[in-house]
C-alpha cells in the first residue's frame, strides 16, 4: 500500500511541468536537487560514518564535466548529464588512495581541502573558462521551452534514483556491513567485513549522484562559474538539511529539505538571517533531537516497520 502511494506521488510529480508555472517548477527542481544531494551525502555520512565536508567539489565537478563533455565531445546534452556523474565518480575513485588514509574528522576536512584544490585548478584552467566561467554550448541541442521541464525531470529521476538505491542498499546485507563499520570497526572486521571496499562503494556512489545533481543544476543555469559551482554553501545546505531531517534515515533528507525551503522562502527578505536560523536549528536538533526530525516521527508512532528502519 505504502509503495503504491509513493509511486503515485512520483507520477504526480512527473506531471508537474504540465500544470505548474516556471517559478514553481524552478523551485521544485531546486528542492529535488537538494533532496538528491542530501540523500547522496547521507549514504556515506549517516549510514557509514564517512562524513565529508567537501562535497561541493563533486557538485562543481559534475557541472564542469557536463559543460566540457557537451562542448568538446559533441555529445547530446541530455546524454552528457549521466556521463558527468560517471566522470565525477571516477575522480572520486582516483582520490581515495590518499583520502582513505584519513579517518573521521581528518577525512571530513581532508575532503574540504580536495574540493579547494579542484576549485583552484578549474579557476586556473583556460580550457574551462578560468575564473569567469563559461556558457553551456550544448544548450542548442534542446528547444528553449523544453529546457526547464527536462532539467526538472532529470532532477526528479536523480532524486528518486538515489533514494531507491539507498533504500535498497540499506535493506541488504551490504547495508548491515556498512552500519556495522560505522558502529564498531574492529568488531565488523572480526566478522569478515572489508572496510576499504565497503567505504569505497558508498563514497563513489555518493560522488556519482552528487555529480549528476551538479550537472542538472548547471544544465538549467546555462552558465557556470567556479565561484558558484564550488561554493561551500552547497555543503552547508546539505549538512544542515541532513542533520535537521535525520542522519542515517531515508526520510531525513525529505524532511530536512522541507524545513530548509520553508525557512529560506519565509525569511527571503532578511538577507543572510535564514542561514543563521538554519544553523541555530541544526545546533538545536543535535542538542535535543540527535536523530533529527525523522526520529520525532518514530516517537509518535511505534509501528514495527519504523522500528526496523531505525536500526
Amino acid at each position: 500500500m505504502m509503495r503504491v502511494l509513493l509511486l503515485a506521488v512520483v507520477v504526480l510529480l512527473a506531471a508537474l511541468p504540465f500544470i505548474a508555472d516556471r517559478g514553481t517548477m524552478f523551485l521544485a527542481m531546486e528542492i529535488l536537487v537538494i533532496v538528491a544531494l542530501s540523500q547522496a551525502w547521507n549514504l556515506p555520512a549517516g549510514y557509514g560514518g564517512l562524513l565529508s565536508l567537501g562535497h561541493h567539489g563533486f557538485v562543481g565537478l559534475g557541472g564542469y564535466a557536463l559543460y566540457a563533455i557537451s562542448r568538446d565531445l559533441g555529445m547530446h546534452v541530455l546524454a552528457a548529464i549521466p556521463l558527468s556523474g560517471v566522470v565525477t565518480g571516477l575522480l572520486a575513485l582516483a582520490i581515495t588512495p590518499v583520502l582513505f588514509r584519513l579517518r573521521a574528522v581528518y577525512f571530513a576536512v581532508g575532503m574540504w581541502v580536495v574540493a579547494e584544490i579542484i576549485r583552484i585548478l578549474v579557476m586556473r584552467s583556460d580550457w574551462l573558462g578560468g575564473a569567469s566561467g563559461m556558457p553551456l554550448s550544448g544548450a542548442r541541442d534542446i528547444p528553449r521551452a523544453w529546457m526547464l521541464p527536462c532539467a526538472y525531470w532529470l532532477a526528479l529521476a536523480n532524486a528518486v534514483g538515489i533514494t531507491v538505491l539507498v533504500w535498497g542498499l540499506i535493506g541488504s546485507t551490504f547495508g548491515l556491513r556498512l552500519k556495522a563499520l560505522r558502529d564498531n570497526e574492529v568488531a565488523a572486521r572480526s566478522i569478515g567485513v572489508t572496510p576499504h571496499k565497503v567505504r569505497l562503494i558508498v563514497f563513489v556512489v555518493s560522488a556519482v549522484f552528487t555529480g549528476i545533481a551538479g550537472a542538472v543544476t548547471y544544465f538549467s543555469a546555462l552558465f557556470i562559474t567556479p565561484l558558484g559551482a564550488f561554493d561551500i554553501g552547497w555543503v552547508v545546505t546539505i549538512v544542515f538539511v541532513t542533520v535537521i531531517g535525520g542522519m542515517g534515515r531515508l526520510s531525513g533528507p525529505f524532511l530536512g529539505a522541507a524545513f530548509y525551503f520553508l525557512l529560506r522562502e519565509g525569511l527571503a527578505d532578511y538577507g543572510n538571517w535564514y542561514l543563521i536560523a538554519l544553523g541555530s536549528a541544526a545546533v538545536g536538533v543535535m542538542f535535543f533531537l540527535p536523530g533529527g526530525v525523522a526520529s520525532l516521527l518514530d516517537h509518535i508512532s511505534f509501528s514495527k516497520n519504523q522500528k526496523k528502519e531505525q536500526l
Binding site: 560514518g49 562524513l51 565536508l53 588512495p97 590518499v98 588514509r101 584519513l102 579517518r103 573521521a104 574528522v105 581528518y106 571530513a108 576536512v109 581532508g110 574540504w112 581541502v113 580536495v114 579547494e116 584544490i117 583552484i120 585548478l121 586556473r124 561551500i232 552547508v236 549538512v239 544542515f240 542533520v243 538577507g271 543572510n272 538571517w273 542561514l275 543563521i276 538554519l278 544553523g279 541555530s280 541544526a282 545546533v283 543535535m286 542538542f287 540527535p290
Partner: protein
C-alpha cells in the same frame, strides 16, 4: 640572495600560520575533536578589535585586549553550554556542531559588519624595516614571529611544568581515569576552548594588521590551521610550529614562482605528506 629572502619571509609568515594551528592542535590534543569554527574564532576576534577601535574609539592595545577577553568568554561559554554535551566516543556530533556554529558566526559577522574588506591600522609600524646584507626584513613580521614563538614556549612550559598542565595531559590520555581522580574535565575542556579562541583571535588580529579580512576569511584560516597540524604531525605542539614554518615557506615560494596559485601548493603539500608520511613531519605513528 632571493632564495634567502623568500626563506626568511616564509618563516616569518609561518610563525603566524603556526599560531593558527596551535589553537586547533590544543583542541585536537585535549578533546580529540575538530573545531570547525576555529577560523571564525580568528576572524571574529579580529572584527571585535576593529569594532572596538572604530565604535568605542579606544586605543589599539585596549581594543586588542577587549577582543581577546571577549574571545575567551565566547570559547568558554560555547564549550560549557553546547560542545561539552555532545562529546563522547564519536567525534562527529562535535564536528557537526562546530560546523553549525561556524556558519552562524560567519553570517552574524556579515550582518554586523558587511562583507567588505577590513583591516586593523597599526600606523608606521606596518612599513618600517631594516636590512641585513641586502636582505630586507620588516619589523612587524619579525614581531609577529616573536609573539608566536613566545606563545609556543609558554604553552609548552604550562603543559610540561605545571600542575594544571599535568591535569590536562592526563585528561587527554585517559579521561575516564581523570574523572575517577576527581577532576572536572568539562571545566578543563571549557578552559582550553577559551585559550584556543584567544590564540585564534590573536592570530586573526595579526592577520588583519598584516593585510585585510572579510567575514568569509575564516574557512581558509581553518584549512591552514588543519594543514599546519597534519603536516607537522600530531602529538606535540612543536609539530605545529614546524608545520606552520614549512607551510609559510611553501606559500611564499609559490607566490614568487606562480603568483596566481593562491593556497594551491599548500593544499598539494598536504596530500603529498599524507601519501609519503601520514604521521606528519614530526609526529609519532598514530591512528587517524
Amino acid at each position: 640572495m632571493m632564495t634567502i629572502e623568500v626563506l626568511i619571509s616564509g618563516l616569518l609568515l609561518g610563525g603566524l600560520y603556526a599560531l593558527f594551528g596551535l589553537g586547533l592542535s590544543l583542541i585536537f590534543g585535549v578533546m580529540k575533536i575538530a573545531n570547525i569554527a576555529h577560523g571564525e574564532f580568528a576572524i571574529g576576534g579580529a572584527f571585535f578589535a576593529i569594532a572596538a577601535g572604530t565604535f568605542l574609539g579606544v586605543p589599539l592595545w585596549l581594543a586588542v585586549a577587549m577582543a581577546l577577553i571577549l574571545s575567551f568568554a565566547i570559547g568558554y561559554g560555547m564549550q560549557i553550554l553546547l560542545i561539552n554535551r555532545v562529546l563522547g566516543d564519536d567525534p562527529m556530533p562535535a564536528l557537526l556542531m562546530t560546523f553549525g556554529l561556524s556558519i552562524i558566526i560567519q553570517n552574524m559577522l556579515v550582518e554586523l559588519f558587511g562583507a567588505d574588506n577590513r583591516s586593523l591600522d597599526i600606523g608606521p609600524l606596518a612599513t618600517i624595516g631594516f636590512k641585513i646584507y641586502d636582505i630586507a626584513i620588516g619589523v612587524f613580521p619579525l614581531l609577529m614571529f616573536g609573539v608566536a614563538i613566545a606563545l609556543f614556549a609558554t604553552l609548552h612550559w604550562f603543559l610540561r611544568h605545571t600542575r594544571a598542565g599535568r591535569n590536562v595531559r592526563a585528561t587527554s590520555d585517559d579521561p575516564a581515569m581523570v574523572c575517577i581522580m576527581g577532576l572536572d574535565r568539562t571545566r578543563i575542556f571549557a578552559l582550553f576552548m577559551g585559550v584556543s579562541a584567544v590564540l585564534a583571535a590573536l592570530a586573526g588580529i595579526m592577520l588583519a594588521m598584516r593585510g585585510s579580512i572579510t567575514p568569509f576569511s575564516g574557512a581558509e584560516r581553518l584549512l591552514i590551521a588543519f594543514e599546519v597540524i597534519v603536516i607537522g604531525g600530531l602529538g606535540s605542539i612543536w609539530g605545529s610550529l614546524l608545520g606552520g614554518l614549512v607551510l609559510g615557506v611553501v606559500h611564499i615560494l609559490a607566490l614568487r614562482i606562480d603568483p596566481s596559485s593562491g593556497p594551491l601548493y599548500g593544499h598539494l603539500l598536504l596530500l603529498a605528506i599524507l601519501l609519503a608520511r601520514p604521521e606528519g613531519l614530526a609526529g609519532r605513528m598514530e591512528h587517524r
